[in-house]
Symmetry: C2
Subunit: 418 residues, 2 copies
């Protein structure tokens, strides 16, 4: 760190940084970098969904305004089937929130059991594998249900599969693993095909072990299109077709709070889920589904739309990376990811600095996701990981927020050093 | 029954009825009287919700397209607060399905417990009181969760309160009661103010006993407006403000499958629920809420709209009652309700005939709700109750279906008599 800096120069540097920090504080800023929210102009891309609503009848003659169609409109399931690479009868299209679908999948497992297995609420202990850094809302569901979380380290190919295989092979209380396989939240890495194969093939002690495959960013490329193996296909090949629940949504395709979400899985799983949700609901909001399909038409329509998102997001990611590099690139005090898609950049401070960096930024009017949030129980053992979400602010705000962020990083590191 | 008919005349009557029945069978009809679905022209009343969607920003400046606002848009909560007679901070406005909100309330009680009480999944036994005849989907939730259902008889004032008080006062495994207080499904009765007061005041052994107040038809008057005491107010007066969960939806105000649902309860309950659903979802579909509020504006707007529904529904109810009276009125073989609102007419055959009447109708191409569905476990102990749903068919179809129904009733009764 700070190679070539003697103590005097470090002190001088600290003084400069403190001055800059205090100047920013005087500006009473209020910038939000905390969540992966699409921006105003991204949302505007989909306003056409609500233009020209002339009738409400689906291709199959279903009146989307009335009750019924538990698993969603056929045309919506067909569109998701194209996106996911499965058949329409392996899809349930629901309301807007894939998070809600994940929560419900866990809740059903606790109350009713999965495909005839013992309900998890009857077990002494339920554990989940949590590749980390990962998505805080996955971990929050586990915490609420008192599921013991086991942290699995991640590298550029995905979770540490030696560790995953060893644990699921011997402990039948391990019932699931959270995966965010394409542009993983927050690191942006893409699970390798080898990792996907191993997840599909591995022996699991628990019969009702499920991979929770949250593919929120499957189509969210910033540059060229990246692809990866289809986990359901791989599970089928390995004779483990019931192993995976795949979750998708248009939250970051159409409207974050008013898109359409879906779960995809083997026919056996889908039948089991439909039987249970037939008691929970009469069906999802089919008008929203109909309007979505009319707007996007097919997978090609979605892909063309995603290019427009990329055009808005790419300069923001590049601005963040440029500012990080410009300010911190030569100091060797931090590292960060350079993702080719998704919604986040993952930033590592030196050990023991992340919480303080986020607190300092907050003090200067810039909120980041809480440090620690990317780890189970909100505890980052090294207190180093910070999730940067470039999507929501307009670019000038974003640049300012990142300048302040870099200053906060230096400030905390220099305070530790001196 | 059939006073003044000797055996010969009964035989002749049976022959006539059989001839009529067989003639109908030849017509290969396909009429659906099974569910309380609004009709095409009722749904058309609300098409304006999707007209002129010019922007997506709420009065408070919230972008309804983006993430957030766990408890729904403030203007939607205000509208529900007017409808329900509570304050906006006693309301959570959600997605389309109030059934889903009821299911989720039960599911949360099982997994996490209510306001710090023991989760129901940890208990040996959970029981619910089920005033019957009642709503089959309430009973289906209980059955799925293995909640033991205790049938409570109903009269014109609501459930038998002596029985309710005796049971809840001594058995702490009794955790809830299903109530459909205004135009009760299927009898159409209105809970009396005395019943509502007794529900609010009664002593319950279980601290976490909840009244599941499914007020689906609160504003669904066919004639003049009927009102009743507000259960939450009564509970507050009695010092039992946490006792009730109130459920509402616009399913039968706007769109059956794409309306807005709400739960209302004491602030303590609402805080408890919000804490838990903050893990389940980021928020409901706010665009749908915004469009609803813009269309209906306020309670007066909703009431004016409900008058239009009544104009469509009233002739249907009257046609059903006219045909029942014309064909069966003098025979003294059946009785039925004459509701002033809601979606159903409840019909009682002589003991042991309902299943066969429904089967005969089905054979002639007319489907009714399964006999028994209005009782816990789908078992009507007297096999006499049939739910008639006049809303969905167009009036000419409806008349034909009811003529056939009356013939089926006579056919089954005459077969038993002879």
């Amino acid at each position: 760190m700070y190679e070539g800096f003697n103590r005097e120069k470090l002190k001088q540097r600290k003084q400069d940084i403190e001055n800059k920090y205090n100047n920013y504080k005087l500006q009473n800023l209020k910038l939000d970098m905390s969540r992966g929210k699409p921006s105003w102009d991204q949302l505007n891309l989909s306003n056409g969904i609500y233009e020209n609503v002339d009738d409400f009848i689906s291709d199959g003659g279903v009146d989307s305004r009335n009750y019924g169609i538990l698993d969603g409109l056929l045309e919506m399931r067909k569109l998701f089937a194209q996106i996911i690479g499965v058949s329409p009868d392996e899809v349930i299209a629901g309301d807007s929130s894939s998070l809600n679908m994940m929560y419900d999948a866990i809740s059903r497992a606790f109350n009713h059991g999965i495909m005839g297995n013992e309900p998890w609420c009857k077990l002494d202990k339920v554990k989940f594998l949590c590749p980390s850094p990962g998505y805080d809302r996955h971990f929050a569901i586990c915490e609420l249900f008192k599921i013991e979380m086991i942290t699995i380290p991640m590298d550029n190919n995905g979770p540490d599969m030696d560790m995953v295989e060893a644990i699921v092979g011997e402990d039948d209380s391990v019932k699931g693993i959270w995966c965010n396989p394409m542009y993983s939240n927050p690191t942006g890495i893409i699970y390798s095909d080898e990792v996907i194969e191993r997840l599909a093939v591995m022996k699991t002690k628990a019969k009702d072990f499920r991979i929770f495959w949250d593919n929120a960013y499957a189509l969210h490329h910033l540059y060229e299109e990246n692809t990866q193996l289809n986990i359901l296909n791989e599970c089928k090949k390995a004779g483990n077709e019931d192993r995976v629940f795949m979750f998708y949504s248009t939250a970051k395709i159409s409207f974050a709070g008013a898109g359409v979400a879906a779960i995809a899985a083997s026919k056996g799983n889908i039948e089991n889920i439909k039987k249970l949700i037939s008691i929970q609901t009469i069906g999802p909001n089919k008008i929203n589904q109909l309007l979505h399909v009319r707007f996007f038409k097919d997978l090609e329509g979605v892909k063309a739309h995603m290019k427009k998102h990329a055009e808005i997001l790419r300069p923001k990611f590049e601005a963040v990376l440029y500012i990080l590099d410009k300010n911190l690139g030569n100091l060797n005090i931090a590292k960060w990811t350079n993702p080719k898609g998704g919604y986040f950049i993952s930033f590592d401070t030196p050990k023991g600095c992340a919480k303080e960096v986020v607190a300092k930024a907050k003090e200067a009017g810039v909120s980041f996701t809480n440090a620690g949030a990317t780890y189970p129980y909100g505890i980052d053992p090294d207190d180093k990981n910070i999730r940067i979400a470039p999507s929501y602010p307009q670019i000038e705000e974003l640049k300012k927020a990142m300048e302040i962020f870099c200053i906060c990083v230096e400030l905390v590191v220099l305070q530790k050093l001196l």
